[in-house]
C-alpha cells in the first residue's frame, strides 16, 4: 500500500516535469528554465521526437498511467489485489528502459545533459526501485490490511 502511495506521488512529480518539457516542445512555453543551454540542445535535437511525437509526450502519458494505476491501487477495493503492483512494475520497467535509452543518447550522442531529463530519470528510477520493493514484499506480513484501512485488525 505504501509503495503505491509513494509511486503515485513520484509519478505526479514526473508528470509535471514531462508536461513542462512537452509544453516547451509544442511552443506553449518560450524558454526552459535550465541554468545552462544544454536543455535546448537536447530538446531541439532530432531525438527529441520519436515516431513524430515529442518524447516528452511519452513521458506525460507514462507518468499519467503510473499515477492512475497507483491511485486506483490505493483504493480499498483494490488494496488487496496484486494486479496494480504487477502493472506498476511493468510500467516502471518500461519507463526505466526508455529513460536509459534517452540518457544514453544525451551522454554519448547529443553530448548534452538536460537537467529536467535528469530529474525525470531520477524519478522513474526511484519509482522502479519502489515498485520492485512492492513486488518483492507483496503479501509479507499483514501490514497491507492496516495500511489499506480495510476491515478490522486480524487476530
Amino acid at each position: 500500500m505504501r509503495h503505491r502511495q509513494a509511486i503515485a506521488l513520484l509519478a505526479l512529480i514526473g508528470f509535471f516535469i514531462a508536461l513542462y518539457l512537452w509544453l516547451y516542445k509544442i511552443g506553449a512555453i518560450g524558454e526552459l528554465k535550465c541554468g545552462t543551454g544544454a536543455c535546448e540542445a537536447v530538446q531541439t535535437s532530432r531525438w527529441a521526437v520519436w515516431f513524430g511525437v515529442p518524447v516528452a509526450f511519452y513521458g506525460v502519458v507514462g507518468y499519467a498511467a503510473l499515477f492512475l494505476v497507483a491511485l486506483v491501487g490505493v483504493q480499498p477495493a483494490f488494496a488487496m489485489r496484486r494486479a496494480p503492483t504487477l502493472l506498476l512494475t511493468a510500467l516502471a520497467s518500461g519507463g526505466l528502459l526508455f529513460t536509459l535509452y534517452l540518457t544514453y543518447l544525451e551522454v554519448f550522442v547529443i553530448h548534452a545533459i538536460c537537467r529536467w531529463c535528469v530529474g525525470s530519470a531520477v524519478v522513474i528510477t526511484v519509482i522502479w526501485v519502489v515498485s520492485m520493493i512492492g513486488l518483492k514484499t507483496w503479501g509479507e506480513g499483514s501490514g497491507e490490511w492496516f495500511d489499506a484501512g480495510v476491515g478490522s485488525s486480524p487476530p
Binding site: E31, K33, R46
Partner: protein
C-alpha cells in the same frame, strides 16, 4: 490516507503553479515566419550585423532610450560582436520597439533610420546608446543633439535633415513595433534566437554564447 491526498494536492498546486509561472515569464515562442505580419510597406526587416550565412540569427527588439538596452549595447554587445558575430556564428538584427513610456524613443529611432539611409545605421545606433545618459533624461527634444551626432558621423546633413523632417521612416518604425507586439514582445530588450523568444532579464554575452553554441551543436547533430 489524508496526508497522502494532502501531499498529492501539494504537488498539484506546486507543479501547476510552476507551469503557469513558466508560461507567463517565458511566453510562447515566435510564430513561424510565414505567419508574421508584414514588417513594413518597403519590406524592411531591420538592419543586420554579421554574415548572411551565419547559422544563428538573433533578433533584438530595442528602444534607444531604454536604459537596459543601453546597458546591454554598451556592456555586452561589444563582446558578442567579437565572439559571435565576427566569427560568423551569429547574424544580429536590430528591430525598433519604441516603448510608450519614453518621450524620445521614436525620435531616436528615426535618427538611427535616417543615418541608416546613408549607410551609418550601426555607428548611429552605437552612438545613441553610448550617449543615452546625455539625451535620455532630458525633457528637451534631443533632435538637435542627434543632428550633431549625425554630423559627427560624417552624414550629409541636408539629406539627414530632410529625412527627419519628412518622418520618412516613421511607418517602418511603427511596423517594427507592431510586429514586436504580434510576436509577444512586452519590453526591451527582447531577443529571439532563431525565432525562439528569449526573455532573459540578465542577458549577457556569456549567456548568448551558451545559447548560440548549444543551438549550433544541435544543428550539427541533425
Amino acid at each position: 490516507m489524508k496526508p497522502f491526498y494532502a501531499l498529492l494536492g501539494l504537488v498539484v498546486v506546486v507543479g501547476g503553479g510552476w507551469l503557469v509561472w513558466a508560461s507567463r515569464t517565458t511566453p510562447a515562442p515566435a510564430p513561424a515566419a510565414s505567419r508574421l505580419v508584414p514588417a513594413a510597406a518597403d519590406g524592411f526587416r531591420g538592419y543586420t550585423l554579421g554574415s548572411e550565412a551565419a547559422p544563428v540569427e538573433v533578433v533584438e527588439y530595442a528602444d534607444f532610450q531604454c536604459p537596459h538596452c543601453g546597458e546591454f549595447a554598451v556592456l555586452q554587445l561589444p563582446t558578442i560582436r567579437e565572439q559571435l558575430i565576427a566569427t560568423g556564428k551569429v547574424r544580429w538584427r536590430l528591430r525598433d520597439f519604441p516603448l510608450g513610456g519614453f518621450p524620445w524613443s521614436r525620435v531616436s529611432a528615426l535618427a538611427a533610420q535616417c543615418a541608416g539611409e546613408q549607410g551609418k545605421f550601426w555607428p548611429m545606433a552605437d552612438t545613441l546608446f553610448l550617449t543615452q545618459s546625455e539625451w535620455g533624461r532630458s525633457s528637451r527634444n534631443p533632435s538637435g543633439f542627434f543632428r550633431d551626432l549625425a554630423r559627427g558621423l560624417g552624414l550629409d546633413r541636408d539629406k539627414y535633415d530632410a529625412c527627419v523632417a519628412s518622418q520618412r521612416y516613421a511607418g517602418r518604425i511603427e511596423a517594427s513595433y507592431q510586429e514586436g507586439i504580434a510576436l509577444g514582445v512586452q519590453g526591451t530588450p527582447t531577443f529571439f534566437v532563431n525565432g525562439r523568444l528569449k526573455t532573459d532579464n540578465n542577458a549577457s554575452s556569456d549567456r548568448f554564447k551558451q545559447v548560440v553554441d548549444s543551438v549550433i551543436a544541435a544543428q550539427h547533430k541533425r
